[in-house]
């Protein structure tokens, strides 16, 4: 049940981010200045964190999506769905840790 | 108050009620009134199987089944009824199969069958596989299948309507022999609103199930309070053979939850504290698969003689440990689960503590083989029918064979349904339901609701507990004059106390407090009849065992008991037993 909530919340979050993301990227059509100005604001630490959250959401949603698909397709996965929830979190952690380390390095390292 | 009119009204939606409804709703405008949602009925708790001489796995025939039923019932069975039961059994099972019931199957795809107590080949030679089953949830499957068919046929249900009174066009006890007495309808209380409803009908079928809650240790549901029997009694009708109550050998010790006889049919063995297979001493031929009354007595005897197991030496053990776990899972999944859940015992590796539990009322509302209710030994009440555990056709006599009850509800439920609809087609107008038809019920409800303000002094639960404990102590597997007189005294006392009961819930809606108080009234009346019948029957026969009269006495007691409620207590009468082929013999297994 909780994974269902996570999936739903992350799905919605990604969707709204995507709307904004396409809009801001569209600014490249307006002018390089406008784009860079907006993107520049993404480079503040606050936005860095939001960005990290987004990546987290995508990874969680994505891996859990794979789990859901597996559960629908195989009886083994269905019977081991609880273990698969752990697998999702582990895969998520394995990717998130190096990412955060690097990403937050960029964000706060001021490079 | 709301008034309804139907051709046929069926009270009860267990196996018997719904089987009747399937027949009558095809032929007449039918309403089914039930105090529980149909799928909650206790038929769903039945486990082991339903008997029919299908001969799918080994040689068998209906005549052997008749013999077993008569002998199992200690010759108190009406043999004409037993013949109908056993011969119609085959179609009853096949009908259910065609309705979709998922029976277990033989390798060649037929309905599988297994052994059950008292069912034998060739008049007692050896146990025969006669019980058609679906794992250990046969009753569940029957109940579900019948309900599903009712949905298909759009049977009209009135769920959670408690029928509390039966209205006849005149007092059946006052009417002269041969005079016509007809049914007019029933009065019911709707649980969700507390409203009283009157139902006028040309035919009424009672299928309200058993009365196991007169005992403390029972396999029966909380709701099996003998309402139908009590209502009939109050309406001036007799109850037949109520002293015969079946104690099932294998109830979970202390709880009474049933472990089906199928456990023994599949090879389970009863052992005492010494590990001895004691049934070898009591029934050398068929041992653990002897009829229930014998096994229950043997168990109680082992405990009495100090060979009980456990810290208090008060139960025996049902040993399944020699069976393959896979076999247990396939054939007995539910009951092994009960042992795990409620006693924390793992049946694969440990024997399960068991002790006899009050299980089945052989007696009930006397009927003919068409389900017509008798108001004395010969006259029927026009338009009134009964079927299932609340009725007594008498196919079970003094002791019911396992799997014969699921059969009974199907065969006689069907017969009652057809007869009721056919009767309704022959009468133009139902008997008049008087304007004050609901007066009695209203009186009871108003009186009980008034106790909320503090006029009563007794608690329903206390009176009920005292009753159940008395019955367990004095009217169980072993009885004698002293114990029965004690029970009689206590029941009389409790009836007095009952007049002072008070309830707490002052509301009208879902007032289950009120209903428990009313149910207690039925329990008290039925207990009184059970005890009176048991006292009068100075012999031992089937489920009724008198230690002061340990043998069967065909000279004096080869007859049914008919009990009537009168102003001054229970009046007993007798009714001859129908004997066609089988003369009473000694009962040995």
């Amino acid at each position: 049940m909780w994974m269902w909530v996570v999936h739903r919340v992350t799905g919605v979050a990604i969707f709204f981010f995507l709307l904004v993301h396409v809009l801001d990227t569209s600014l490249v059509r307006v002018s390089p200045e406008a784009y860079n100005e907006v993107i520049g604001s993404y480079k503040t630490p606050l936005y860095g964190l939001v960005e990290a959250g987004l990546v987290a959401a995508i990874l969680l949603h994505g891996f859990n999506g794979l789990r859901i698909i597996a559960v629908d397709r195989s009886t083994w996965a269905l019977r081991h769905q609880r273990q698969l929830v752990w697998a999702v979190w582990i895969a998520f952690a394995v990717l998130m840790v190096p990412f955060l380390w690097r990403h937050l390095g960029h964000v706060f390292g001021g490079a | 108050m709301t008034h309804h009119e139907y051709d046929v009204v069926i009270v009860g939606a267990g196996g018997a009620g719904m089987r009747a409804a399937l027949e009558s709703s095809q032929r007449a405008r039918t309403a089914v009134l039930t105090k529980l949602y149909p799928t909650r009925s206790h038929t769903g708790a039945a486990q082991g199987g339903m008997a029919a001489a299908l001969a799918n796995v080994e040689d068998d025939n209906a005549e052997w089944h008749v013999f077993d039923t008569v002998k199992g019932g200690d010759y108190l069975v009406d043999q004409d009824a037993a013949e109908i039961l056993c011969h119609e059994a085959i179609d009853a099972v096949l009908d259910l199969e065609k309705m979709g019931l998922p029976f277990n199957r033989t390798p060649d795809g037929k309905v599988d069958q297994r052994r059950f107590g008292g069912h034998t080949r060739n008049h007692g030679e050896a146990a025969v596989r006669r019980a058609c089953y679906s794992a250990d949830r046969t009753g569940h499957m029957i109940l579900q299948t019948l309900y599903q068919q009712c949905i298909k046929q759009e049977v009209e249900f009135f769920n959670e309507y408690y029928v509390l009174d039966l209205i006849l066009d005149q007092d059946p006890q006052a009417a002269a022999p041969g005079e016509e007495v007809a049914v007019a309808g029933v009065v019911a209380l709707e649980l969700s609103t507390g409203q009283i409803h009157t139902f006028r009908a040309k035919s009424v079928i009672f299928a309200t199930g058993g009365a196991g809650k007169v005992f403390k240790t029972t396999s029966n549901a909380h709701t099996l309070t003998g309402d139908g029997m009590g209502i009939a009694l109050n309406a001036g009708l007799p109850l037949e053979d109520m002293e015969f109550f079946q104690f099932h050998p294998t109830g979970l010790a202390g709880l009474g939850i049933l472990l089906s006889e199928a456990a023994r049919g599949e090879g389970g063995i009863l052992r005492n504290s010494e590990g001895e297979r004691f049934m070898e001493r009591y029934a050398p031929t068929i041992k653990d698969l002897a009829p229930r009354d014998m096994v229950a007595r043997a168990m109680a005897n082992e405990v009495r003689e100090g060979r009980g197991a456990g810290p208090h030496k008060d139960y025996v053990l049902l040993d399944l440990t020699h069976l393959e776990p896979a076999h247990i899972d396939e054939k007995l999944p539910d009951i092994t689960e009960f042992a795990r859940t409620y006693l924390g015992v793992e049946p694969y590796t440990e024997p399960v503590p068991v002790y006899p539990t009050a299980h089945y009322a052989m007696g009930g509302i006397p009927t003919t083989v068409r389900g017509e209710v008798l108001r004395n030994n010969t006259d029927i009440v026009k338009g009134l029918y009964a079927a299932g555990e609340c009725a007594c056709v008498s196919v079970h006599g003094a002791n019911r064979l396992g799997t014969n009850s699921l059969l009974d509800i199907n065969v006689f439920g069907r017969r009652a349904g057809i007869a009721a609809a056919e009767h309704a087609a022959t009468v133009d107008e139902a008997a008049v339901l008087p304007d004050d038809a609901a007066a009695r019920v209203e009186g009871i409800v108003t009186r009980l609701l008034a106790t909320v303000s503090g006029s009563g002094t007794e608690r329903v639960a206390d009176v009920r507990k005292a009753l159940q404990e008395t019955m367990d102590r004095n009217v169980q597997v072993f009885r004698d004059a002293t114990s029965l007189e004690e029970a009689q005294r206590v029941v009389a006392e409790l009836k007095e106390r009952y007049k002072d009961v008070a309830i707490h819930d002052r509301g009208r809606r879902f007032n289950t407090d009120l209903l428990e108080a009313i149910e207690l009234g039925f329990l008290l009346e039925i207990s009184e009849v059970v005890v009176a019948g048991a006292l009068a029957r100075q012999e031992s026969r089937g489920g009724h065992y008198r230690e002061d009269f340990p043998t069967r006495d065909d000279e004096k007691f080869m007859h049914h008991t008919m009990a009537y409620a009168t102003e001054d207590g229970v009046r007993l009468d007798t009714k001859p037993v129908v004997v066609t082929k089988y003369q009473p013999m000694e009962r040995k297994y």
């Binding site: 909530v5 | 529980l36 240790t217 139960y315 924390g344 879902f510």
Partner: protein, 254 residues
Amino acid sequence: MTATAESPAVGEVKAMQVTLRILRTNPEGTDDHAPGESYWQEFQVEAHATDRVLDALHKIKWEQDGSLAFRRSCAHGVCGSDAMRINARNRLACKTLLKDLNPAKPIIVEPIKGLPVEKDLIVDMEPFFASYREIMPFLVTTGNAPTRERLQSPEDRQRFDDTTKCILCAACTTSCPVFWTDGQYFGPQAIVGAHRFIFDSRDEGQWDRLEILNDKAGVWKCRTAFNCTEACPRGIEVTKAISEVKKVLTTGEI
């Protein structure tokens, strides 16, 4: 006199105090509460670890407050009357032993969610049964019936064994988060009910049933939350049954 023992207990268990916190609703109101208002009430009862929650509820009803309303019948988990939310999980009160609940803390008892509450722990089951009725829960056959039984191999019988166990208790449907948000959803029980017939080799109405479940409110609403499987007191693999129905719908093969 008789050999009936006073409740032959298997191993002695000591009595203890347990607290039950019950969410109550009285449609007609009480002295302190308006009609239909829901409120929490605590009761303390003396009980044994091996007692069921149902026993504790009975103790309350029989000794303290007769107006407490709940449904029950069989008391051993086969009739489906007493599904309720106990410590935030749907269970049958008669199949839940106190010792499995940590009786040191108050035991929280609420009506099952998603169906209208009628009184205390009693909910209106009608919408639930209506869903069941809608999926044609009965064997559909054509042609003449054989004189004997319809044959079915043990393997074919096995295919739908799991879903025949359903006792219509509603624990699954009322634990499903999708059902909570959208009562239009048929709910897992109805799918279990349909599964029982779809995979029955004797049935010929499968495609009508599948058609009904292929609807907006049908199987596709299931988001594999697994609450139903976890709630089912009969141990039915509900999500698996739902999955099998989805599979049939996508592949077109039974």
